[in-house]
């Protein structure tokens, strides 16, 4: 039987919503991560290297996601 009340959400909207949810998760995770390294790390060099590696990998991926969800 055909569903007369089927809701169709465009792909673009789904992608945008997913992007904002993931962005929120990323922001919360990053704050927790930075808090731990700032408060509990015993090596300044290791802390800096961890920050550099984390942001070097995650920010381009986030940019790519933003591009795919919002611009393309």
């Amino acid at each position: 039987m055909e569903n007369q009340f089927a809701l169709t959400i465009p792909w673009k909207t789904v992608l945008s919503l997913t992007f904002y949810v993931l962005l929120l998760i990323y922001a919360i995770f990053t704050i927790v991560l930075l808090y731990h390294w700032q408060n509990y790390s015993v090596s300044k060099a290791a802390t800096t290297q961890t920050y550099v590696a984390y942001f070097t990998i995650s920010l381009p991926l986030l940019g790519l996601m933003a591009l795919a969800a919002l611009a393309l």
């Binding site: 792909w11 992608l15 997913t18 992007f19 993931l22 990323y26 995770f29 927790v32 991560l33 731990h36 390294w37 408060n39 509990y40 790390s41 015993v42 090596s43 300044k44 060099a45 290791a46 961890t50 984390y54 990998i57 995650s58 991926l61 986030l62 790519l64 996601m65 591009l67 795919a68 969800a69 393309l72």
Partner: protein, 191 residues
């Protein structure tokens, strides 16, 4: 290891000297990170397999029409993998044993919201057991250290995956002997 930084984070007693700091064996974190990286790259491998197969119209049409969704999906998967790797690395790096000339400080960073810092005085240590079990731990020389103390509140502690456990056992034993000698047999018996 920058000890000044260490002293800021963990309060040492006056004239207390750090003998060594120990983290879990490098093989454990390497294995964990490698697994996460392989999981992170799984969509890329899947994409390459699909491209290597004879082209099918339905797949090609999907690729052409849903390119942004595909890019988004792969990037999101890799971002989540990066976060998992960061969490693993944080747990590994912040998990620490500090052996001083007076006590053992065990920092147990189980996950982000589960952190335990315990202090065990060397003069209260009664027994230290080392277990190296399995082929890889034997070859790479890592294992579990179990120590028992005289105090009821901190009766024993266990830490798996420590590098060179026998060397560590000897180091703790020597530090313990030196501590008992420095405080004298009468005071150690009272403690």
């Amino acid at each position: 290891m920058n000890n000044n930084r260490l002293y800021e984070k963990i309060e040492l007693e006056p004239d207390e000297r750090v003998i060594t700091t120990v983290r879990k064996h490098w093989f454990l974190i390497t294995l964990e990170l490698l697994t996460i990286v392989l999981f992170g790259l799984a969509p890329v491998f899947a994409f390459m397999i699909v491209l290597a197969l004879p082209p099918q119209e339905i797949i090609m049409t999907f690729f052409e029409t849903q390119t942004p969704a595909l890019i988004f999906g792969i990037a999101a998967w890799m971002l989540l993998s990066t976060m998992a790797a960061a969490a693993s690395w944080t747990s590994y790096y912040l998990d620490l044993w500090i052996i001083t000339d007076r006590r053992i400080i065990v920092v147990d960073q189980i996950n982000f919201f589960n952190r335990k810092v315990s202090h065990f005085r060397l003069e209260r240590l009664q027994d230290i057991k080392v277990t190296v079990k399995g082929l890889i731990p034997t070859l790479l020389n890592y294992g579990t250290i179990r120590a028992q103390t005289a105090s009821a509140a901190e009766s024993n502690f266990t830490s798996p995956g420590l590098p060179d456990p026998r060397g560590l056992q000897a180091l703790i034993q020597n530090a313990m002997d030196a501590r008992l000698t420095s405080i004298g047999p009468v005071s150690s018996a009272i403690d």
